[in-house]
């Protein structure tokens, strides 16, 4: 009987340790994901800053603007814009863009906004809203 009690306590202790280790692992994984997201956002912002300082400046005219999904209560727009950049042939591109709640009220077909294109990568486009 005594041996059975000791054994069951050992099993409970082992299960407790497994649960604690599992929870700890979850926290570590969640923290790593948060760090990864933060680093990615920081690098993305740094790249946008670079593009706005060194990119070719043109304008983008909204052809269509659809939204349905929100991220952190900010709408995600699926935009089709006509891109007009000096020295480049005009072209139509599609972009997904999260915008603020006020800007979301103003973005509609016909609206024109500044755009920057990477000097050596025409697919790298920044729309300024």
């Amino acid at each position: 009987m005594l041996a059975l009690g000791v054994a069951s306590r050992s099993v409970i202790g082992l299960l407790g340790a497994i649960v604690l280790i599992g929870m700890g692992a979850c926290y570590v994984i969640a923290s790593l994901i948060a760090v990864w997201v933060a680093i990615r956002a920081r690098l993305g912002n740094r790249h946008k800053r670079w593009l706005s300082a060194n990119g070719l400046r043109g304008k983008a005219t909204v052809v269509s603007a659809g939204t349905g999904m929100t991220i952190n209560e900010q709408p995600l727009f699926e935009l089709v814009v006509d891109l007009d950049v000096p020295g480049q042939a005009p072209r139509r591109i599609e972009r997904k863009l999260i915008v603020g709640s006020f800007a979301a009220r103003r973005i509609r077909p016909g609206l024109t906004m500044p755009a920057y294109v990477h000097p050596s990568d025409p697919e790298d486009v920044l729309l300024v809203w």
């Binding site: 946008k48 800053r49 593009l51 706005s52 400046r57 304008k59 209560e73 900010q74 915008v99 603020g100 709640s101 006020f102 800007a103 009220r105 103003r106 609206l111 024109t112 906004m113 500044p114 920057y116 920044l126 300024v128 809203w129």
Partner: protein, 203 residues
């Protein structure tokens, strides 16, 4: 107030525009979206630009997000500068400590960059621009001469918001006198002229 509007309109050749419907052209105007300017005048500003001048009143349950009993009143002058749209999406020069809402409408969460390069300007205004906006263009617009004017000439509570080519200048109602209407109308015209002038430099 209506008397002031009547006298100011007569002196400037403006027409009665009472009931002008407020659109969400700038964050301040968005707080009163769907309401009307009353009284209001419409006509040509200094420099030849068309504009609307009116009493903006919202809150006290009238506007989205204004659930308290507090109402807000501003004299606003609204005009449009189409050339600004592809150059400067949002430029807000807000009077510090001005209260425009209780509780807010979420615009406060909008992505904005503070522009703090001028101590004189930031001593009186909170200036915000779109992130990734061309900073050289902003520096050229906010020239020392224009900053001097902004910090010394407009009425104490003057603020302006430029959003996607639409400009709204505003002041607190104060005594609602003709001088007050004149001040916000003319200050907004001056800001519009300066923005248009800088846009023309880009063309």
């Amino acid at each position: 107030m209506e008397d002031s509007f009547g006298r100011f309109g007569a002196s400037r050749g403006l027409t009665d525009a009472a009931g002008h419907r407020v659109e969400a052209l700038t964050p301040l105007l968005a707080r009163a979206e769907g309401l009307t300017l009353d009284p209001a005048l419409a006509g040509t500003m200094a420099g030849g630009r068309e504009g609307v001048l009116g009493l903006l009143r919202y809150g006290a349950g009238h506007a989205v997000g204004a659930e308290s009993d507090t109402s807000f009143e501003f004299l606003v002058a609204i005009t449009r500068i189409p050339a600004a749209e592809p150059l400067v999406p949002r430029l807000f020069c807000r009077r510090q400590r001005r209260v425009e809402s209780i509780g807010g409408m979420g615009f406060e969460l909008d992505d904005e960059d503070a522009w703090t390069e001028s101590e004189a300007l930031t001593a009186r205004y909170d200036v915000a621009i779109s992130p990734y906006q061309d900073l050289n263009w902003i520096r050229q617009l906010l020239s020392p001469k224009f900053i001097d004017w902004l910090v010394s000439m407009p009425p104490e509570s003057f603020a302006f918001e430029l959003a996607y080519g639409d400009l709204a200048g505003s002041v607190e109602v104060g005594d609602g006198s003709v001088a007050r209407l004149e001040a916000v109308w003319d200050a907004t015209a001056t800001v519009a002229h300066r923005i248009a002038e800088e846009c023309a430099e880009e063309l």
